[in-house]
């Protein structure tokens, strides 16, 4: 029974994305939608036929054939389609299906597609949406719920993204060597945002969308492993995402309330992912490049390897956030740095370092914490109340409610 489940899941996920990539690469960026439709059709055929006929001996080859024929049918309505028929014949599955989300290698087709959909011509939001849909094979409703958007809006964003790729004449090919560093960085930025969307969902009942995180880790690891994109920065990103993903199981407590890092039961962190992250971090140290990904990964490392919250090396973390702020300044980094300073040097120093971010629930909560620690309970309360009102997800709202109900 579980074999059936695994097979269906791996076909719907891994085989489908491989096939979309393989078809899209042959059809061109303007026809990614045709490739997706054709593969979707093949998958639906498989799902409705196989219960009767049993699973064919080579399921992925079966899917490839049906998808190719469907693509040809869809293209026949276009005049240009006929010429493509010949090119499509050699389409065949690239490799065996694997059973793990994290360990599957990216085929060259998928890498080419990832580069295409993360093209710098597209906004970062577009890249993330496009990658989730086309490379990760998530559905529009899944993406919409994860990105706090309506399915129609996501659909429109995808249509615009495809048009932009077509207008920019982007080929689904790995970029030429001279363009590779810039393009790889654009992919890394998109994967980082994809991960963050999963790690801190921007709305809703759930604080985390593990699906997005799993996909981002998988792609980051594949990026680090592929000969074309293997680079210290790619390993650093993979380390950052794996180390952070290790804490996913404890982000929300069993009572549905968000858990602060210091309150999370560290024995429930995913130690397999921590080990993976450490391995990538090791490899990221080759060469003398120090990227923002290295800095972020080191922070994640310091959290993951502290045995207790009390043993966290806050002075070092504060210093790294300082470095990050210097090379890649942002309000979020400034806020994180202030929190680290507060932990390292005490609440007064933390309060002084806090950026003015009224309207941000995390900044309000941090201010509340520092004020509370300084004994200024009334002021603390007002900031927690504001944080509660601003909270974007239910688990976070409940965390603030818990804060407000306990004595300061």
């Amino acid at each position: 029974m579980s074999t059936v489940h695994r097979l269906v899941d791996s076909l719907a996920r891994d085989s489908a994305s491989r096939l979309v990539a393989s078809l899209a690469r042959r059809l061109g960026a303007g026809r990614i939608a045709v490739a997706e439709d054709a593969v979707q059709h093949a998958l639906m055929q498989a799902l409705s036929l196989w219960p009767f006929k049993g699973v064919p001996e080579r399921p992925e080859a079966w899917l490839a054939t049906v998808a190719r024929n469907r693509a040809l049918d869809l293209l026949r309505s276009e005049s240009r389609g006929v010429a493509l028929a010949e090119e499509l014949v050699p389409l065949a599955p690239a490799s065996q299906a694997s059973d793990g989300h994290f360990d599957r290698e990216l085929s060259d087709d998928e890498l080419a597609l990832l580069f295409a959909v993360c093209h710098p011509a597209l906004s970062v939001e577009m890249r993330v949406t496009f990658a989730l849909k086309t490379v990760c094979g998530l559905t529009v409703p899944q993406i919409a719920s994860g990105l706090l958007s309506e399915p129609t809006a996501i659909q429109q964003r995808l249509v615009r993204a495809r048009r932009q790729l077509e207008a920019a004449n982007v080929a689904i090919e790995p970029p030429p060597p001279e363009a590779l560093p810039e393009r790889a960085e654009s992919v890394r930025t998109a994967l980082y945002l994809m991960f963050n969307e999963g790690y801190s969902a921007s709305s809703g009942d759930a604080l985390v969308q593990p699906e997005f995180c799993v996909e981002a880790v998988r792609l980051a690891r594949a990026l680090a492993a592929h000969p074309m994109t293997a680079a210290p920065a790619s390993d650093a990103l993979a380390a950052l995402l794996a180390l952070t993903a290790a804490r996913l199981p404890t982000r929300v407590g069993p009572d549905g309330v968000a858990q602060l890092l210091e309150d999370q039961p560290r024995d429930q962190w995913d130690h397999g992912l921590i080990a993976l992250g450490l391995a990538h971090l090791d490899r990221s140290a080759r060469g003398d490049e120090l990227t923002v990904w290295h800095l972020r990964a080191e922070i994640a490392l310091l959290h993951s390897t502290a045995r207790t919250a009390g043993e966290t090396d806050w002075p070092r973390i504060a210093a790294i956030y300082g470095e990050l702020q210097a090379v890649d300044p942002s309000p979020v980094v400034a806020l994180a740095r202030a929190v680290a300073i507060g932990r390292a040097q005490g609440p007064a120093a933390g309060l002084a370092a806090l950026p003015d971010l009224s309207g941000n629930p995390y900044a309000e909560a941090a201010r509340g914490v520092f004020l509370g620690e300084l004994g200024r309970a009334a002021e603390a309360r007002s900031h927690f109340e504001r944080a509660q009102a601003l909270a974007r997800t239910d688990p976070e709202r409940r965390l603030m409610a818990k804060r407000l109900s306990s004595p300061f």
Partner: protein, 126 residues
């Protein structure tokens, strides 16, 4: 061992617009059921039928009348069938009980029919 035909009745196309997740869920349940029968040597075959695009043929006043059918508007069509092996009707029924078809839609139902065993008929006729 006798053979039985399981006719899967449904409203046409009840499952064409399902989202992929739902479709995957359905398939997993069907395949799990089919596999367990297959492994025990209880599944002799099966086919999925299209919901429309066929023909109905009838003789009327000595003339053959052919019409399209079933229609997508039909209330009830056979969406597919399985042929199963069982020692008797009771066993056949117990095998079909676990088939997910009936629980997937309120209008779904299964018809279990023994396949006439010609060897036995001939033997009985002596």
């Amino acid at each position: 061992m006798a053979q039985f035909m399981v006719l899967l009745h449904q409203t046409p196309n009840y499952n064409v617009d399902l989202p992929r997740e739902k479709m995957m869920e359905m398939t997993k349940r069907y395949m799990a059921w089919g596999d367990s029968l297959r492994q025990r040597g209880k599944l002799a075959g099966g086919e999925k039928l299209t919901a429309s695009g066929g023909r109905h043929l009838r003789a009327k006043d000595g003339k053959l009348v052919v019409s399209d059918g079933p229609y997508a508007e039909a209330k009830d069509v056979v969406g597919g069938f399985f042929i199963i092996e069982a020692k008797d009707l009771a066993e056949a029924e117990s095998l079909v009980r676990d088939c997910p078809h009936m629980s997937l839609a309120p209008t779904n139902w299964a018809e279990l029919r023994p396949i006439e065993d010609m060897a036995q008929v001939r033997a009985a006729a002596g």
